[in-house]
């Protein structure tokens, strides 16, 4: 056997905190002293919290980011191994029910600095302009309090900060181009392109994904190892852990990892005072803050607000509308699997590398509102075996047999818009976690439009797989992503936060994560969560100390602060189309 070029691979000497194969944290992190009041506490350092933390720190605020999970050292903590990646996910217990119960954990929830961006496949499409007004145009769901044009500059900004690789002309929604070029294809992408092309369906090859196809600064390019959702040890796939947290620390932010926030405290003047949390040793502590931002995503955010109920806020914080926990959404995420006579080896290349949004918009001929996308996915053996169990009913020798054909299968993910429903919600369960905090219970049901859309989209995705040349096509129903459960809106009677993430009920309490999205489109939500976070940051920074004292929200749009991007954002990529 040949030896590795640089010798056998050992951990780097001296053990600095590594965030990839090259990137490391050089600066010692600032630590606020016990009892010191900070400007902002951010609960959860994921897609939204990570971007906001970086912005606020750069603007000079004293800010602490709490995360219930570890501050990953990617060389020390992460592995190229499906089973070994288990600790990246939010594995604390939740109860899931309803007629169509959602799966959590690996499916959609991260725990640790970087949150879900640590294990996202990193498809980063934008929402379409139509997504912001589906009630007006389709008579379903609800309109957003903002339009696509409000978010567009933030999309462009985030596409540079991550950055996003993709085609130079992306035809759907608001057509645009990507700053980094598309990735080479793997076997699954080839199948999607082949199937779509045969049926005359447009397809985007090689992106948009937040994965580097060329090195940039201290981040190397993708090596196509396929373990994207097990955490990118290379540092090629963007996560806020490596794109925004280092700059936040550089600018004086503190991260408190392994700290579970249990309660937000409100004072007599109906303003938040700070938070209680359990530190890494399980001791309960208090952190005083002038303002609190909850960024725990669609399950933990409502859980914390509900668990913070107190006199004056008996139904939970920011819940005068009774909307906290309601309008929880997941996207339909059926996996369609096709067997090919020829080998595919779908474990190579990122799971996310080609998609079509040809069916994204409402088509009255289809008999339902809204639409779907079709994307590549690349399950590794453990996930694929589970899919064969449900999609084919395989077990015993049948399981052994179909698994021996693993390299002959390709898989597509159908990503369909499920509409917001008040009864799809997060509540508190009877059970408590190991710290004694009541856990979340989610209830999820599909409604008529959702079921019609899933049926159509599933069949269309299977049709593409057949057209690609598969000799057998099966599918598994599942859901992908989460959003909603603390939605934004102009009306305090029907929404939890305003367009900037400020809760209607408490002037110095904000939400900055996917839970504020009123609808979800058929785009993976990560980029939108980050764009919203950058917009919330601009708002908070423009408001300055007003946030800490004023009871009267300012609803004027803030100017965009391009100067707050992490270093090296500018001077790359394409001009705007």
């Amino acid at each position: 056997m040949k030896s590795p070029l640089l010798g056998e691979f050992h951990p780097p000497n001296g053990k600095p905190h590594m965030l990839g194969s090259i990137q490391r944290i050089e600066t010692p992190m600032h630590r606020f002293s016990e009892g010191e009041e900070v400007d902002y506490v951010i609960v959860g350092v994921g897609a939204g919290g990570g971007v906001l933390l970086q912005r606020l720190a750069r603007a000079g605020f004293h800010v602490i980011g709490f995360d219930a999970g570890p501050f990953w050292d990617t060389e020390r903590d992460w592995v190229s191994d499906e089973k070994g990646a288990h600790n990246l996910y939010w594995n604390d217990l939740r109860i899931t029910g309803g007629k169509h119960p959602l799966a959590f954990g690996a499916n959609n929830c991260g725990k640790g600095v970087g949150g879900g961006t640590v294990h996202w496949a990193s498809f980063t499409p934008r929402l379409h302009p139509s997504d912001f007004r589906i009630h007006s145009t389709d008579g379903v769901g609800v309109d957003w309090p903002i339009s696509y044009s409000d978010l567009k500059p933030y999309y462009e900004l985030m596409e540079l900060e991550l950055p996003v690789s993709g085609p130079s002309y992306y035809p759907w929604g608001d057509p645009h181009g990507y700053p980094y070029g598309p990735h080479p294809m793997g076997g699954v992408g080839d199948a999607l392109i082949r199937g779509c092309t045969k049926l005359g369906i447009g397809v985007s090859a090689g992106g948009p994904v937040a994965i580097l196809n060329g090195s940039r600064g201290d981040r190397p390019h993708c090596i196509y190892r396929g373990f994207c959702i097990q955490g990118c040890k290379v540092g090629a796939k963007a996560s806020t852990l490596i794109t925004h947290v280092p700059d936040a620390i550089e600018n004086g932010a503190e991260i408190r990892p392994n700290c579970m926030v249990s309660r937000i405290h409100v004072g007599g003047d109906r303003r938040v005072l700070g938070i209680s949390y359990f530190d890494s040793e399980g001791r309960e502590r208090f952190q005083k803050a002038k303002a609190v931002v909850v960024a725990g995503y669609s399950i933990e955010t409502p859980r914390l607000l509900l668990n913070s109920a107190c006199p004056g806020f008996e139904r939970g914080l920011a819940n005068s509308s009774d909307c906290v926990g309601r309008y929880l959404m997941a996207q339909a995420g059926n996996v369609v699997l096709g067997r090919f006579e020829e080998l595919v080896r779908m474990y190579k290349a990122p799971p996310a590398h080609a998609l079509t949004e040809e069916f994204y918009e409402t088509d009255p001929k289809r008999g339902f509102a809204r639409g779907f996308a079709i994307q590549t996915v690349g399950p590794l053996p453990m996930a694929f075996a589970r899919q064969m169990m449900t999609a084919k009913g395989a077990w015993g020798w049948g399981m052994r047999s179909v698994m021996m054909d693993y390299n002959h299968w390709a898989s597509f993910g159908f990503l369909g818009e499920i509409l917001p429903h008040a009864e799809n919600r997060v509540q508190l369960a009877e059970e408590k976690d190991r710290l004694g905090i009541p856990i979340a219970k989610a209830t999820f049901n599909l409604y008529d439009n959702d079921q019609k859309l899933i049926e159509y989209g599933k069949n269309k995705t299977m049709e593409v797989m057949w057209a690609a040349g598969a000799t057998e096509v099966v599918q598994e129903a599942r859901y992908a992503h989460l959003v909603g459960a603390a939605r934004m809106g102009n009306d305090p009677e029907t929404s939890v936060v305003d367009q900037f993430g400020r809760t209607h009920d408490i002037a110095n309490l904000f939400i900055c994560d996917g839970s504020i999205m009123p609808t979800q489109g058929s785009a993976n939500p990560g980029l939108t969560i980050m764009a919203l976070a950058a917009r919330t940051a601009d708002y908070l920074i423009r408001e300055g100390n007003e946030v800490f004292t004023s009871h009267k929200p300012n609803d004027q749009k803030p100017p965009m602060r391009r100067d707050l991007s992490p270093p090296d954002t500018w001077g790359h990529g394409m001009p705007r189309i």
Binding site: S3, E8, F9, E75, D77, V79, S80, D81, E82, K83, G84, H86, Y89, W90, N91, L93, T96, G98, H100, P101, A103, F104, G105, A106, N107, C109, G116, H119, A121, G186, G187, I223, G226, I229, V335, L343, R345, Y347, L380, A385, R386, Q387, M389, T390, G393, W395, G396, G398, S401, M403, M404, N407, H408, G413, Q475, E476, A477, A480, N524, P525
Partner: protein, 257 residues
Amino acid sequence: MRAPAENADTRPVDPHTGKPIGPMAQPGYYPRFSTLGQQKFWDAKTREVVLDRVNNVPVIRFFSPQDARLLNAVCNRVLPQDDRDESHKIPIVPQIDKRLYENSHDGYQYEDMPPDREAYRLGLQAIEEIAQHRYGSGFLKISLREQDEILRSLHDGKPSAANEIWKRMPVHRFWMLLVSDCTDAYYSHPWAWDEIGFGGPAYPRAYMRLEHGEAETWEVKEKRYDWKAPDISVSGEFEQVAGHSDHPSSPGNGGTL
């Protein structure tokens, strides 16, 4: 107790000659492919985690010896390994036991399900009850065919006994729990990667041949052979569980967040 490896008719069969296949060190279509043979090219942490899985099989701490024996017999049918020689069988029960002992799970529990520990306790009890009901004997004492028949009835959602238990725990959810625990244990093992031709860890070294199913220089080309399940087994042929694929019961891991 039976010793399946010694018993020719528990092994899969060459459909052309009718002769049993194995036992062998490495079944599958990728002869002599060894992911572990590439471990020098893995990063240190991955090497540590994967080698620990291979070398340090956890001791049984959660199940009683009796339950462990029963679960072992169940897992031998849910994921049969009669084509593997004794020294190359992949441990299943120790991994399930470890998970339950540590109370580790996927981060959610179905509203209509008890916690996993209780689910296994109930599930094993139900399997025993069905064996007594159908065959008048314990699961360990009935034939492999009869064992398979009981498991097929769980797969089909039509267990013939233990109704009290299935009122507390939907049979299809227990089935999914059991099968996915078995497949997790088996397909997280590098010997299974060799069997199915999965390249395994590839950091810091890259994959470079991404298209057309081409093998890396260190991977092995596919060399297929025909085989079918032994006649004694019913698990070689299966039908999609009616309706289940439209109820996401599987804690799938193929997210596209």
